[in-house]
């Protein structure tokens, strides 16, 4: 593992709209995350956490500024290269889950492996194992509509982890879970972080959850406040 940071944001801005209606969702962000780090993003609603996560996940393009992922300037990559970067290095848990509807939990979890070209038997085994880890093995055949919010969230976590990414980006992954489930998920993430050196950037509102992090980053009005 190189000493190079996994993530290096410098002076990142993201503006929505134009003129009067312009919103500065991110207003000059500098953030660096080292390999194996477990970072929590916190801050009031609307402070730009999700916007920042989307940029980190190469799902969106900043208005200005530089984002280097493992030393590579993301802005210089074309769409396909960014997609390959997501495919091979990044697992993403959305605030709104974003599971495929009318598709079983198992098939949802399998999907990223399918795009990686993992053979069928291995795909199945790894997806089942991932569902097992989030405690949903017996719900593998259920579609999102047949799952509770918390269960959907855990499927989304399983989908993000199944590819064994080197960076896990999770936007409030415990937002819909009770405290016991949240504990379990956090222990799972901590274990992956410690044993496999998985780098984790995660958004949370809950101070209880925040204590698992190595470092907290506070957002306010699109800026990062002094680290706690």
């Amino acid at each position: 593992m190189s000493a190079e940071p996994v993530i290096a944001l410098s002076n990142i801005r993201k503006e929505y709209g134009r003129g009067e209606a312009q919103v500065n969702a991110l207003d000059g962000i500098d953030l660096s995350v080292a390999p194996g780090e477990f970072v929590m993003l916190m801050g009031p609603s609307g402070s730009g956490k999700s916007t920042c996560m989307n940029l980190l996940g190469c799902l969106d393009t900043p208005s200005s500024g530089s984002y280097r992922f493992r030393g590579v300037e993301v802005g210089s990559l074309d769409r396909e290269q960014q997609a390959l970067l997501r495919r091979h290095y990044i697992g993403f848990v959305f605030q709104g889950f974003n599971l495929l509807s009318r598709t079983s939990a198992l098939e949802n979890v399998e999907l990223p492996l399918l795009y990686r070209g993992t053979p069928k038997a291995e795909r199945r085994a790894r997806s089942l194992a991932a569902l097992e880890q989030v405690g949903l093995a017996e719900r593998a055949d259920h579609t999102p509509a047949e799952l509770s919010g918390g269960q959907q969230q855990r499927v989304a976590i399983a989908r993000a982890m199944v590819t064994e990414p080197s960076l896990l980006l999770a936007d409030e992954p415990t937002g819909n879970l009770d405290s016991a489930r949240s504990e379990e998920i956090m222990q799972l993430l901590t274990r992956l972080n410690a044993e496999q050196g998985l780098t984790i950037v995660m958004v949370t509102h809950e101070p209880d959850i925040a204590r698992y992090a190595h470092r907290l980053v506070h957002f306010r009005d699109g800026r990062i406040e002094e680290a706690a």
Binding site: N54, G57, L59, D60, T61, R79, E80, A83, L84, R86, R87, H88, I90, F92, F94, N98, L99, L100, S101, R102, T103, E107, L111, P112, L114, Y115, R116, G117, R159, T163
Partner: protein, 401 residues
Amino acid sequence: MLWNALLLALRAIRRNVLRSFLTVLGIVIGVGSVIIMVNLGNAATASVTAQIASLGSNMLIVRPGQRRGPGSNEEGAALTLADAEAIRREVPGLAAVAPTANKSMTAVFGNSNWSTTVTGTDNAYRTVRDWALVSGRDFTPGELAGGRAVCIIGDTVRRELIGPGDPIGVRIRLKNIACEVIGLLEPKGQSSMGQDQDDAVLVPLRMFWRRVAGNQDVGAIQLSARDGVATTKVQAQTERLMRERRRIKDGADDDFHVFDMRQITNTLTNTTRSLTGLLGAVAAVSLLVGGIGIMNIMLVSVTERTREIGIRLAIGALGHEVLLQFLVEAVVLAALGGVAGIALALGVSWLASDLMGMPFLVDWGIVLIAFLFSAAVGVVFGYFPARRAARLEPIEALRHE
């Protein structure tokens, strides 16, 4: 990768059963209706043409009276046997000339009786009508000259009166005339006017004159031109000859008419052809409706598809992989619908032509056009919204409403 796309496409089809079904249905309706309509139109044209051909090719009919639109004759002096002989002598290019006179009569055999048309004529009649004998023989010169009571019967008369088996030698009665059957005509089926041509009894003209009509009138003279001779020319020459013979002054109207069957043929073929055109137009509309149906389904599902594409892109799918999946999905549905539509159309056309006694014809050109059109609609409206979505930033696709 194509394998993956196929797998994903099949999963998507299974997931969206209703949407897939409606898409396929749109294609089935579009493809099916066009093929059915065009096939039936063509079959109608072909059967009309075949029926006309069965009337006898290159045939003309001379009748007394003015022609006043189809079917209506004005009285004119009857034709004579001498007219027929004059035509045979003086009009060049004729294959045969048959004087005819007919009357509707009841034929009796045993307990059965059957109302039919009895035609007095000679052996040239079969040549003009291009009508073969299945069994038996023509009239002998002796029978013709002596006006003997012998007859050649059509297939319907045999069936209704005598029943199965060879009718040769059987004696039937026409009104009160005992008449020996000497020949059986080959079945011809319905004429283009819907008459049963096989409902006929032929007797020697002299026998008809003496024992049926009681006069020596010829009702109509039927002619056939030799192959390669223009019937219009024959018509003109016959008209000139008849005017001369009937002493019609220059400028006066004809009191007879010469009917060219080819004109009827042309009229009828044109009619059926415009019928085919009309059916084709109706079919084109149904094709369009089917296409709009597909388009609607595809456009309604654009939001869902766009979000789905966003998800796939976010978890690492490449734009062209997603597109390939959607393309394969569209192609699979189009192919399914196309094949089902073609199968349905062929089945229905076959059944319909069987029921209506028409030939079963398939216009493969139309099959291809209908299939390509529907497939194109499916592919275009399935593929292009997907392509637009795949070009968005993943997060924009995910947020699509």
